[in-house]
């Protein structure tokens, strides 16, 4: 059991990160902190998927002189590159929303905002 966990430490770490992120999103009242929690969740999923493609002792799959198998799987990295772009745009949009909330109401604490509605 413990050995299994040790062998899959990378996956276990991303699950723990995911839970930390989710906890932050749910419990924090400050909108920026909430969103940082979301960023932690994003990172954990990205790390999980990138870790999928790793092969022990594998090389970067760049063909040419001296290229030797085994290679790591490049597909998850390509996917996550797209995923990071999505995450960046989500962050940009969320931060701009937070700025507008701040300008309109003067606060970014979720519990105070709830009182204002």
């Amino acid at each position: 059991m413990l050995q299994d966990l040790w062998h899959n430490l990378d996956y276990a770490a991303s699950v723990v990160l995911f839970c930390i992120g989710l906890y932050t999103v749910i419990t924090k009242s400050n909108l920026i902190k909430k969103f940082m929690g979301l960023n932690i969740m994003e990172t954990s999923v990205f790390a999980f998927i990138v870790a999928l493609g790793v092969v022990d002792g594998g090389d970067a799959p760049i063909m040419g002189a001296g290229a030797e198998a085994p290679f790591i799987n490049p597909l998850p990295q390509a996917l996550i590159l797209t995923g990071i772009v999505v995450a960046v745009s989500t962050t940009a949009l969320a931060l701009s929303l937070i700025i507008r909330i701040w300008k309109q109401t003067g606060t970014i604490e979720a519990d105070e905002l709830r009182g204002m509605e």
């Binding site: 995911f18 989710l22 999103v25 909108l31 909430k34 969103f35 979301l38 969740m41 994003e42 999923v45 999980f48 998927i49 999928l52 998850p76 996917l79 797209t82 995923g83 999505v86 745009s89 989500t90 949009l93 969320a94 929303l97 937070i98 507008r100 909330i101 309109q104 905002l113 509605e117």
Partner: protein
């Protein structure tokens, strides 16, 4: 045998490139932006119509992007469920026409082209989501769709708009991550991202991670479609957005979760590697609870758009329940309700938008008696109300009838009871609305002096109301269109 041009690729490429070109072409003019958006949607509608004709002749077909054969490249796959693009194009076009006058009051002129950009991107992503055959591609379209959706909620600039958009964004982003996580798991288990290929390779995959993957992806899509305990983002977001956007969000964007679930079911059923009985039971119960709770919350609303938003939760409940029943009639009813509910809810939201635009008021008590001042709009809303309750001969009746039949067929008459009970609740609040508009004494006599909405608003609303009636009378058409797909879906279960 006709050789068809690569319409499927154009269907995505044309709106996508045109959407991002909108600000450059409009150069700050709202009028040019409007005509451009309308032209783009017309082209997309024509392509969509041709594709649907093709699928009804030939059955499902695919397009290979960039010449990379599936499972290595991205495959676009068009089956009967993808015919949902018909309603996406129709509603998208009507929402754009409706926006012409509506947004000039809500948004400053230089920013209007960006509004159309976002709307086009949103519609394009929805089309892409519906026709893609690749799991990661599905995720990307889902993100384009969600991001443009969050931004569209915030454009109205009303006091709590940004807060509603932020709430929507946080829930939406968490659900997207759940979906991405499951896609990663499925890739780890099968080594493939092509849906059909994943289904073939699932056999023999470890049971526990598979169960986690299917649970997370369904959970993610359930947040997107606002099934009961996960609905908290929906009412504010849908009520605060500009009305044409509300119609698109409520009619189409929440259905993305449903279409996603259908795709998951296609993988799960055809592979036979996953036991979906447990999940189906959960979906049935959550569907039934959504129907009743959505209707229950709606009864106590005074704001007409909030009321309509809660009614969306009820209707998603019907669809989810139909899917969970996993009987032929249930799934047919659910898939057709995706289409019909979009028609009905768009009628109601556009009608409500026209009223709010003309009167500047949005609560039932303030709007009492408005039926005398805006007879056509209120007539359209009444037709929508009758349809959504499910009184024959309107569009809502057939799907609900089929879902109830599906409950009987699955040997679960209790759910048919829940459906009828929910419909009664829905009846109560729509009668309250129609009663207030037509029969109550106006609170403020000035409401009798407002004018009927301009043609660009009245036209789409009336057309949709007419379609609600037409789909009630010719309801067999979509039912028999979707039937082969449902039979194919349920065939591995042993005839459903």
């Amino acid at each position: 045998m006709i050789t068809w041009p690569p319409l499927l690729a154009l269907l995505i490429a044309v709106p996508m490139t045109s959407a991002v070109l909108t600000p450059a072409i409009a150069r700050g003019s709202a009028r040019r932006a409007f005509w451009w958006a309308l032209a783009v949607m017309s082209v997309a509608s024509i392509i969509a119509a041709m594709l649907i004709i093709r699928v009804s002749h030939e059955g499902p077909f695919s397009y290979v992007v960039g010449g990379w054969v599936a499972p290595y490249g991205i495959e676009l796959r068009f089956d009967e469920f993808s015919a949902a693009i018909a309603i996406i194009c129709l509603l998208g076009t009507l929402a754009i026409i409706f926006s012409k006058e509506y947004v000039t009051h809500a948004i400053a002129e230089p920013r209007i082209p960006y509004y159309y950009t976002l709307l086009l991107l949103n519609l394009m992503a929805m089309i892409g989501f519906t026709v893609t055959g690749d799991l990661f591609n599905l995720f990307v379209f889902m993100e384009i769709l969600s991001l443009s959706g969050y931004a569209l909620v915030a454009v109205s600039g009303e006091r709590i708009a940004e807060m509603a958009a932020f709430k929507y964004l946080v829930m939406g982003a968490v659900s997207s991550l759940l979906v991405l996580f499951s896609i990663g798991l499925l890739y780890a288990l099968t080594g493939s991202l092509n849906m059909a290929d994943v289904a073939e390779r699932l056999d023999g995959a470890a049971a526990a991670p598979l169960a986690v993957a299917f649970a997370c992806i369904t959970l993610g899509f359930m947040v997107k479609s606002a099934v009961f305990p996960l609905h908290v983002w929906l009412p504010d977001a849908h009520a605060i957005a500009p009305s044409p956007i509300s119609a698109v969000l409520s009619g189409l964007v929440v259905k993305v979760g449903i279409i996603g679930m259908l795709r998951v079911y296609q993988i799960a059923y055809s592979s036979g590697a996953v036991d979906m009985t447990g999940l189906n039971t959960v979906l049935m119960w959550l569907g039934a609870i959504s129907i009743v709770m959505g209707a229950f919350f709606a009864v106590f609303q005074d704001d007409i758009k909030l009321m309509l938003a809660y009614s969306t939760i009820s209707n998603i409940g019907y669809i989810v329940m139909g899917l969970g029943l996993a009987s032929t009639y249930g799934v047919i009813g659910a898939s057709v309700h995706v289409f019909n509910h979009a028609l009905i809810k768009a009628t109601l939201f556009l009608g409500a938008g026209a009223i709010i635009h003309q009167t500047g008021k949005r609560t039932l008590s303030d709007l009492a008696g408005v039926g005398r001042a805006m007879p056509f709009t209120v007539a359209a809303i009444s037709i929508g109300a009758i349809s959504i309750v499910g009184i024959p001969p309107t569009a809502g009746f057939l799907c609900k009838w089929y879902i109830a039949l599906g409950a009987m067929q699955a040997g679960r008459p209790f759910f048919a009871f829940a459906l009828v009970f929910g419909a009664l609740f829905i009846f109560i609040y729509y009668i309250r609305m129609v009663n207030a508009f037509y029969f109550q004494k106006p609170k403020d006599p000035s409401i009798l002096e407002v004018h009927e909405a301009p043609a660009t608003m009245l036209g789409p609303t009336l057309l949709l109301a007419a379609l609600c009636l037409v789909m009630g009378v010719f309801g067999r058409l979509p039912l028999s269109f979707i039937e082969p797909a449902v039979n194919r879906l349920l065939a591995p279960l042993g005839g459903g």
